[in-house]
């Protein structure tokens, strides 16, 4: 047991120092990217030479980055909403109903979590090419539902399993039909799971590269894929700037989600 107050032995100090080093290692690339984004040079230098916000200005006034952000947000929102609806319905069925082959079905729903993303990507590329809808926005949304729905199902099922089903039955005996009982009673009770699932879903969809990169058309490109191709063409501080923006947004998002629902419990 770690007891913070009492007898600081040398071993304990060494242990705490080790933990601090590991935590520093975890945040190191983040720190480096943020530092590099302020450099006044046209090439990447750390520590930054000079101090400027001009890379941020450049990125934020670049129409290609703006349209990539728009595409990413639109895609993540569509995928998250559909995932939440379908995933919640499926979770409800798996927990409350007598589903035949329930174990197999839930494994199939969870499979995209561990299935090689690149394989899903190329399979979808070929499938959508074959039926002639490659590059359509809908194909992206459908694929993102498949890769985000496991997160929704996982969060929703764990919250739902902890709720007393008789509460919904009570609503039914008081005259509420199945849908009303779900809406007025079950839904508010599983709210933390829905929020966590939705947040996860949004992040996973927004961040995805290995599936998305195979399905994009030339006009619509997502932000991570845009940064990915930018890096392949050569690194410069503008990439650090757009990356830093993502770092700030992710950080703010995490703090907000923690305050809202205690996000660490769902990780």
């Amino acid at each position: 047991m770690i007891n913070n107050q009492s007898n600081l032995s040398p071993q304990k100090i060494a242990y705490v120092a080790y933990v601090a080093v590991i935590l520093f290692f975890l945040e190191l690339p983040v720190i480096v990217v943020v530092l590099a984004s302020f450099s006044d040079t046209s090439y990447l230098t750390i520590p930054p030479q000079g101090l400027t916000l001009r890379w941020y200005d450049e990125v934020l006034s670049d129409a290609r980055y703006m349209s990539a952000i728009y595409t990413s947000v639109k895609l993540a929102l569509c995928a998250t909403i559909i995932s939440l609806v379908l995933g919640t319905a499926a979770s409800y069925a798996l927990i409350r109903k007598k589903v035949p082959f329930a174990a197999t079905i839930s494994s199939a729903i969870m499979a995209p979590l561990i299935f090689p993303a690149v394989v899903i990507g190329v399979a979808l590329l070929q499938f959508y090419s074959l039926i002639g809808i490659r590059g359509h926005f809908l194909t992206l949304v459908l694929s993102h539902v498949a890769i985000t729905v496991p997160y929704v199902v996982r969060s929703v099922m764990s919250t739902m399993a902890g709720t007393d089903f008789t509460i919904e039955e009570a609503a039914r005996t008081l005259g509420a039909d199945a849908l009303t009982a779900f809406r007025l009673v079950t839904l508010p009770m599983i709210r933390p799971g829905l929020i966590a699932g939705g947040l996860f879903s949004f992040i996973i969809s927004f961040d995805n590269v290995p599936v998305t990169i195979f399905l994009l058309n030339v006009r619509e490109i997502t932000l991570p894929v845009k940064i990915f191709t930018a890096i392949e063409h050569g690194v410069d501080p503008s990439i650090a700037a757009i990356s830093s923006i993502m770092i700030f947004v992710t950080g703010a998002f995490l703090v907000f989600a923690e305050r809202w629902i205690g996000f660490h419990k769902f990780a």
Binding site: D164, A170, R172, T173, L174, G175, A178, A181
Partner: protein
């Protein structure tokens, strides 16, 4: 027309039969308990009446209307769950108003009704609390208020008192019974606690393995059990197997217990035939005394030795081993507060012929 009429109800889960050929008629305003050990099917019956479970076969008629295939939300039954199942995200007011709002009652009428019902369960002033902020007894009363607010045709209670501590349970028994009489709602009460069932019910239906064992007023069940299960299930008793001996008079018959003593019992059609029977003698019908009791007062009297004595306030429990005979458990009333008949003491025990309950031996 009965308020509730159940005919030939049956429900199976795979190979196990939860409820089998169950019949019950409940009169308007009556309080009927379904009593039995856990797994006897009592909750399944209650849930079928509520509409939460669909029966395999049979019929449920509420106020003359066949509701067997009517969905739960259209049955107008009130159900109080063992866990109370209060809506955790709603205030007491919104909990109680839930059923009223489903009936599209105007909001001022809802308010009026909620206030009335809350005062009936003595929870005035707690409208804005959330369930988590209430004690167990208060939560239980909210559950009750929520169930009776929409004026259900039938009130169903699923072990509503089992989560309360003993003292509170006694108070709630009285309060619940009063409320039920006051509102006049037909009530089905599911419990495994026999004293609770006997204290509150107009009639009790005892269930075992999905089948009715006996239905009747509590006194009938207790004093005139129809079978061995009822005789041993209700109250605390001594059980024996015996052979029917000679008839002593028109009114009395001699029974030879397997343990080697003879006792006298009141003759009835159950003991008319010869053969093996089951004998039940309740603890409180056995008297204990230092001197041999007058034969005119107790036909059955035996000498024995106290081997165990437990004082628990108003009553004292004894275990007495008869000379050349079985052990008897008995319960005496504490009358004088003295330490009588300590272990090792030589005593007499006695009981009336009418206290001997005789039933068919059954399968084993």
């Amino acid at each position: 027309m009965p308020a509730l009429s159940i005919k030939q109800l049956r429900k199976t889960y795979g190979a196990t039969t939860a409820v089998d050929s169950f019949d019950l008629d409940v009169a308007e305003g009556e309080f009927v308990s379904l009593l039995g050990p856990s797994g006897c099917g009592k909750t399944t019956i209650l849930r079928m009446v509520a509409g939460l479970i669909t029966p395999d076969s049979g019929q449920i008629v509420i106020a003359g209307k066949d509701v067997t295939h009517v969905p739960v939300h259209k049955r107008n039954v009130g159900l109080v769950f063992q866990s109370y199942a209060l809506f955790p995200h709603m205030t007491v007011f919104d909990n109680v108003a839930f059923g009223l709002r489903r009936n599209n009652l105007a909001e001022d009428k809802v308010k009026e009704r909620v206030i009335t019902v809350l005062s009936k369960v003595r929870l005035e002033g707690l409208e804005d609390r959330f369930p988590k902020q209430l004690s167990g007894g208060q939560q239980q009363r909210v559950a009750l208020a929520r169930a009776i607010a929409p004026e259900p045709t039938i009130l169903l209670l699923d072990e509503p008192l089992s989560n309360l501590d003993k003292q509170l349970r006694m108070n709630m028994q009285i309060e619940l019974k009063r409320l039920q009489r006051d509102v006049g709602v037909t009530t089905i009460f599911v419990t495994h606690d026999q004293s609770e069932a006997m204290a509150m019910s107009d009639r009790i239906c005892v269930l075992e393995s999905g089948k009715t064992q006996q239905i009747g007023v509590p006194e009938d069940l207790y004093h005139r059990p129809e079978n061995k299960f009822i005789a041993t299930f209700l109250g605390r008793s001594n059980s024996f197997t015996a052979s029917i001996g000679k008839s002593v008079s028109g009114k009395l018959v001699q029974l030879d217990l397997d343990e080697g003593i003879q006792i006298l019992a009141t003759a009835s059609d159950k003991v008319a035939s010869s053969g093996k029977v089951h004998v039940t003698i309740r603890h409180e019908t056995v008297k204990i005394s230092k001197n041999p009791p007058d034969k005119s007062k107790a036909l059955n009297r035996f000498k024995g030795k106290v081997i165990y004595r437990a004082f628990s306030g108003s009553i004292i429990d004894y275990v007495v081993t008869l000379d050349d005979g079985p052990e008897f458990l008995l319960e005496a009333t504490n009358v004088d507060g003295e330490r009588h008949a300590l272990p090792g003491a030589e005593v007499w025990i006695s009981f009336e012929a009418g206290a001997v309950l005789v039933n068919e031996l059954g399968d084993q």
